[in-house]
Amino acid sequence: MKAAGCDVGSLTSKAVILDEGKILGAVIIKSRARPWDSADEVMNLALEKAHCTMDDLAYIVGTGYGRDKIPFVNEAVSEIACHGKGAKWLVPSVRTVIDIGGQDCKVIRLDEQGNMMKFITNDKCASGTGRFLEVMAKVLGVELDELGRLAERSGNPVTLASACTVWAQADVIQHLNDMVSLEDISAGISNAMAARVSVLAKSIGVEGDVCMTGGVAKNSGVVKALEKLLGVRIKRVRREDPQIAGAIGAALFAMEKGKEDVS
């Protein structure tokens, strides 16, 4: 049986096509202005990769911020549920999931079976979300995915005075004017980002194996800064791209639903 998950986020959209427990195709695109356009595009690309068509899919689950606007899904499931499920599939021992997306941050605690016990999310403030990094990369004039590498080469990270994206941006501009190296500023940005996320994570408690999902999980500077602040080792997601965790979770839900429908 084949099933699919489609995660339409604020910055990127992801689709995963599953055949039982195996990923046939997974695609990440930049989101378009309209969620349904993003959904159509990413789904078609994933189907192409998986060499199948919409008719081959028993069930499709949508998730992400645009989940209610995807025309072709059988059901929309919350991001929290999908990220929890996807993370459990990627790292079976995981009990705490830290997901940092383009404009939000979630921390999810799972029990041994992978059921969600509690969660906390910040989508009110840009600080501690991917948006913070995006703004800072723009100010530094570097690509978003360069930030982590730059941070790792820093010998003397700067301290940003404030968590607020607006004030931190002013700080970064000041450091640039003071001729501080991009490496040291990038490390300061990683630390500020991690500080904000760690406050959120500590508020619901960090227990057991920890993993990070979402696009920011690919920023090694932030992951390492967060490990230091939380005092734990964060398990790296290697099985698949951590950015597709939500879409994987959605596809796993779709697979379960598809089987229920058959039986």
Binding site: Q103, F132, V135, C164, T165
Partner: protein
Amino acid sequence: MITAGCDIGSLTAKAVIMKDGVILAAEVIQASGHPEHSAREVMERAAGKAGIMVGDIDCCVGTGYGKKHVPFVSATESEIACHGKGAVWQVPSVRTVIDIGGQDAKAIRVDGEGNVVRYVYNDKCASGTGRFLEIIADALEVELDDMGALSEMSKETLTLSNQCVVFAETEIISLVNDGKEIPDIIRALHRAVAGRAASLAKGIGIEADVVMTGGVAKNKGMFHALENILGVTMNSVENPQITGALGAALFAQDMLVMNRKGSGAAHNGHPN
């Protein structure tokens, strides 16, 4: 007896010169990167307006975020205390002062003598400060000073769903792309900023009379939005931006009076 107050803010520097309890001159300039230069410049200009020399000032008190860098002051005083004192001098019946500056917002409860009873402030988050208005003015390509008048031309009520400046900026750009009118967007923005300042102020309780100070109070749209959200009629002051500097000049006056009341008692006396 000539006294002065110098308020070095993040965006502007303000100076007030008083003689025997009357304002001789007030000046507001854009702050440069160097608080010391801003302080000298604004004070020289104010002195010029007052027709005196800076050297004629008997006592000057500094306040504001750059107060430690003002070279010519006899003492410094907190912004909270200065705003409270300056507001009561302007509107004696005031009990709550809401001050929205370029990078912060404060709410101050004062007693009849202008002493601070309680206060709360936000300088951690740009939302609810003048910076929010500045960033959106830039994004909309309108002048900050025109925003009040523009908002009064609004016909349709829009609501911003984001409190965060960064997210609100994106939301506003999509409102523009959706063909929404600039005046309507600006009015929605004023309500958002006012909402944020109001929830700060409600944290310490609002007691009438209420006065709004700081540069943002010059924006009529913001003033009315805050009145609506708080459900009170606020008092306006002629030049809300100089309230802190005025309070500082009044503290300078108190200091002089104290010192002149016999040097022996000066060390035991309280400045207030």
